[in-house]
């Protein structure tokens, strides 16, 4: 009997396709779902929701590429091409950091789940899981808001760059909370997602 179920996510074709699909998801979330707020970039979008979702489900590397590329493509398609290289770096780092922070915990959790079936230990760790996710959200937010401020300051001065901070914080916090809730909802409704983290 040949059996292969756990190593799907390490096949090169699978990895390339998953990154591309999540890049497209990030781009669509950024482009399609907008809530007007900050005048400089016009809107807050749900791109960060997709980035945090990717980081929590597919891990840091996928989040690095799809987060950066997805937002960069969205900038390109909406006429903000000058932002594309900056988004590529900032949102990529944001996804990478969030993914790295939750990585150890998720991999340990998965090993435990493999060894012992449903045990109480897991439930106790639920609180820690939220804390670790919160840390990921916080670091992701600091990276995104901080780097946008720095690049904004370089491009058009400290005043306008500082003006953008609140909007960016709101977008990132919404992104984290939304991404966290979506991860929970998707993992529950489609359990195979659990095996995809790398």
């Amino acid at each position: 009997m040949t059996s292969s179920s756990k190593n799907i996510s390490t096949s090169p074709a699978y990895r390339i396709v998953s990154i591309s699909v999540l890049t497209a998801v990030t781009a669509v979330f950024t482009l399609l779902i907008r809530i007007p707020i900050a005048p400089t970039r016009g809107y807050i979008n749900l791109g960060d929701v997709a980035i945090f979702f990717t980081a929590f489900t597919f891990g840091p590397i996928t989040a690095l590429i799809s987060g950066g590329l997805g937002t960069a493509i969205a900038d390109l398609l909406s006429g903000y091409a000058q932002w594309a290289p900056i988004s590529l770096v900032i949102h990529g780092l944001q996804g990478l950091a969030a993914g790295l922070i939750v990585r150890k915990h998720i991999i340990k959790f998965r090993q435990n789940a493999d060894n012992t079936a449903e045990s109480d230990e897991h439930r106790e760790k639920g609180g820690r899981k939220i804390l670790i996710s919160l840390a990921a959200g916080l670091v992701g937010t600091i990276i995104m808001v901080g780097l946008y401020f720095l690049s904004g300051a370089a491009l058009y001065g400290i005043g306008p760059a500082a003006f953008e901070i609140p909007g960016n914080i709101v977008q990132c916090v919404v992104g984290f909370v939304g991404g966290y809730m979506l991860t929970r909802a998707v993992v529950k409704a489609y359990p195979p997602v659990r095996d995809l983290f790398l």
């Binding site: 040949t2 756990k6 529950k188 409704a189």
Partner: protein, 486 residues
């Protein structure tokens, strides 16, 4: 004759994500396909014919998981021990859903991509590309994004890719379904002339097979039966004897005692889409059409003829440009219905059941709208269980997203059923599930005296089931009087 593909003792089981272990899909499946001729393999929905094709192409279980044993031999290659990418020139597969196979953002790139994997040089690639572009009539679409093509054009693109690779074994998964007559002819003749081993996977028989197919087989009860044409077709079953499958149906729709009132009245309705690059604007115009309570109305016509557009108008998902849709108001008088009102009046069963699934269990999905409507939790639980049973969903703890297609379709119908709309539209719900299941679902709605609109490609189905058939052609609707015999 040489053997091109031989399958021995094949066992396959998909991985299970629910509490119950999943049943094996293939048990000791055996089969031999000879070189250079055309084979057809039938299978009812969910019999595993798509999985069979993917197994031959070395893609299962690599990308699906599951456990497999036995041997699949293509030429001299042990497929189960070979990665799919090494089979490029041996087995070529055209997927059933082209949207899940097209990878590139440009038509030309899609054709060229596998040729690049074959390390062909530029002149060779150019020659094959140009030959297939002109053969499959894709010249105007060279630089188009395949995502924007029509269903038939996508199929032709994928056939162009297959022919450009020209592998030893061609596997066509329901490919004839989406093609119109002219291209079906072109494809089967090309298949014959190629001299390749061609395996057609199909759920329905078309007369074209009688002329060109050499061997007949059917996947049934986890096994492959290779027998004569007549035996195969007999095993496939005459789907049309639905009275045998569900004898109660004719009584309901044929009941002449029932006083019929219009539940939806369409008056001088028009809607147009801006034209694409290739074509002109599409306009739907329906002058006068009534949908009656307790009746089944069938919308029949080719793709892009306006069936879906009219359905979306009736559900209030889009607003008409001119004309109006009327629904009965107080005292039964017809009054204008705004899109917002129609959204709560007309139900819609999307062709794809996955568009609305988002909760962890069947129970949650079934309780959701009840809880939204303010029903007590305990009552909702009881109602959900009853409704689940009605639709054959016995394990309420199952995870919808990992259930079989048929179960997802039934769940979708159950959720729609609970909304208790006056009128419900079934968008090509007959594809991908057993006809018996389809009719059972329809029956449940009819029993409750819902008005039903069924959208279908299948004229026979339309004529057999519906009281009224509305034919669509180029945005015009023509009503054909009730053909159903009471």
């Amino acid at each position: 004759m040489n053997t091109a593909v031989s399958v021995k003792d094949l066992q396959f089981t998909y991985p299970s994500y629910s509490s119950a272990n999943s049943k094996p899909l293939f048990i000791d499946l055996e089969g031999v396909f000879h070189q250079g001729i055309i084979h057809v393999v039938f299978g009812r929905p969910e019999s595993g014919k798509t999985t069979f094709g993917r197994l031959l192409a070395g893609l299962v279980p690599a990308f699906t998981g599951g456990s497999v044993s036995g041997s699949v031999l293509v030429d001299t290659i042990q497929v189960l021990e070979t990665r799919g990418c090494h089979l490029l020139e041996h087995v070529g597969l055209v997927f059933q859903d082209p949207d899940e196979q097209i990878l590139m953002a440009q038509v030309e790139d899609e054709i060229v991509f596998p040729l690049e994997s074959m390390s062909l040089n530029r002149p060779q690639m150019h020659e094959r590309l140009e030959a297939e572009i002109s053969f499959w009539d894709l010249d105007d679409l060279r630089t188009a994004n395949p995502g924007n093509l029509s269903g038939g054009e996508k199929k032709r693109l994928l056939l162009a890719v297959l022919c450009a690779i020209n592998p030893a074994v061609w596997i066509l998964d329901e490919t004839f379904e989406e093609l119109d007559e002219q291209w079906r002819d072109v494809l089967i003749k090309r298949a014959v002339e190629s001299g390749r081993t061609v395996i057609i996977l199909a759920s329905k028989h078309i007369s074209l097979y009688d002329l060109y197919v050499s061997t007949w087989s059917i996947i049934d009860n986890n096994q492959l039966f290779q027998c004569s044409r007549d035996e195969t077709l007999q095993k496939l079953g005459d789907n049309w004897e639905y009275k045998k499958i569900h004898p109660s149906l004719p009584y309901i729709s044929g009941d002449s005692q029932y006083q019929r009132e219009p539940v939806l009245s369409i008056r001088h309705l028009s809607f147009s889409y801006p034209g694409s690059k290739s074509g002109s604007d599409f306009t739907l115009y329906v002058d006068n059409l009534d949908i009656y309570s307790g009746q089944i109305t069938a919308f029949y016509g080719p793709n892009g003829s306006g069936k879906s557009t009219l359905s979306k108008l009736l559900c209030g998902l889009i607003s008409p440009e001119r004309g109006e849709i009327l629904i009965p108001g107080k005292g039964g008088r017809l009054r204008h219905a705004a899109p917002g009102a129609l959204q709560k009046y007309t139900g819609y069963l999307f062709q794809n059941p996955d568009y609305q699934i988002f909760l962890p269990t069947v129970k949650d999905e079934l309780m959701y709208s009840l809880l939204q409507a303010g029903i007590e939790k305990s009552d909702a639980r009881a109602q959900a269980a009853t409704c689940g049973e009605l639709f054959g969903l016995y394990n309420l703890k199952d995870t919808p997203a990992t259930m079989s297609y048929g179960s997802r379709k039934r769940l979708q119908a159950a959720v729609c059923y609970q909304l208790d709309r006056i009128c419900t539209i079934f968008d090509e719900a007959d594809s991908g599930i057993l006809l018996a299941e389809y009719i059972r679902i329809i029956d449940l709605f009819v029993k409750r005296e819902s008005s039903l609109i069924i959208i279908t490609h299948d004229l026979r189905l339309a004529e057999k089931l519906a009281d009224t058939v509305v034919q669509f052609q180029d945005g015009r609707a023509r009503k054909v009087e009730g053909r159903r015999k009471s």
